[in-house]
Point group: C2
């Protein structure tokens, strides 16, 4: 499968972090840069997976990819380490105002999140309702439970409000999701609670 | 920077794991597949980072990348989780028989490994001397110490033999690097020693 919707990710390499109105990925990149610079965590977005078919070698150092296709990702987009723990999450934005459609998360991404939890990692989703200007943290265990119930094709906003945690946007870091992780997974410093 | 040498990574998506004579990346992919299937660890190779310049949309689902360039990676190629710990490593192959040239590891990859250790992760290198048919595990702390001494532009094979751990190739998993991690970081099951 190829998904042109992800293209903007690659085009926005030059980001003016001072500007408002950035998309979720830009906000998360700025947030992760802040975490990295302040030695709080090491969390990176993985490159978009592609299949390369044709490459021109103008010179030894100057290869140009002339034909390539987008691949379905087999894992989530973000991972890294925070307070010694493995962190893994997927981030999605929707223009929908009532629901987050589950088709936006691939089946093997769900299975990946499930495995991360089994192996003792911290797994979650960050979902932004762009028209509502709301960004939610959904813990991986809750998300997997929702999916496993198999009752709905989408997550209603009421579920987000009840089970998720609204992340208030700040200037820096813009989407302070590690604060949520502190509240859920770490209490009184470095001690885990789960 | 663009590095055409990494191309073979993308071309070898169909791998016959039964065959001998695979390159290090193929061996590691097979090893990681084995770890994943046996629920031992979740470790993936990150996609090759590229900058996309031009895309043709034949149809909504059928985007073709027509111009793209290889980017210098800002992190290592492999990461994931094992026994609840964050794992991060770089793998390199050399045809040299006496030395591993340090120019094969980018400066920001070294800084990344340094940060992973500071944050409590397990960082290391896997280096194969293909003509010697030898694959070594070098612990991240040792590697950083070697680099920080600033005495040499390459790691001599004598250092590998003394400070590294030779990984004997097996049928499955081919490059059982988690066994080395067990010996160094975990003793008596799940208890950490570092």
């Amino acid at each position: 499968m190829r998904y042109p919707n992800n293209l903007s990710k690659e085009y926005n390499s030059k980001v003016n972090y001072g500007n408002r109105g950035m998309n979720l990925e830009e906000d998360l990149n700025a947030t992760n840069d802040y975490y990295l610079l302040t030695d709080k965590a090491i969390i990176h977005k993985k490159p978009t997976p592609i299949t390369i078919v044709k490459v021109d070698y103008k010179s030894r150092e100057d290869a140009v990819i002339k034909e390539a296709y987008f691949k379905t990702p087999s894992t989530t987009d973000y991972n890294g380490i925070y307070k010694g723990k493995y962190i893994d999450f997927e981030a999605k934005e929707t223009t929908n105002t009532k629901f987050f459609p589950l088709r936006n998360i691939h089946h093997h991404q769900i299975e990946h999140l499930r495995k991360v939890i089994l192996h003792g990692g911290i797994a979650f989703l960050i979902i932004r309702f762009s028209k509502l200007n709301q960004t939610y943290f959904i813990d991986g265990k809750n998300f997997i439970d929702f999916v496993d119930q198999g009752l709905r094709m989408s997550i209603p906003i009421e579920y987000m409000e009840k089970e998720g945690i609204l992340i208030k946007e700040k200037f820096n870091p813009r989407i302070d999701y590690l604060k949520v992780i502190d509240d859920i997974y770490f209490k009184g410093g470095n001690h885990e609670t789960n």
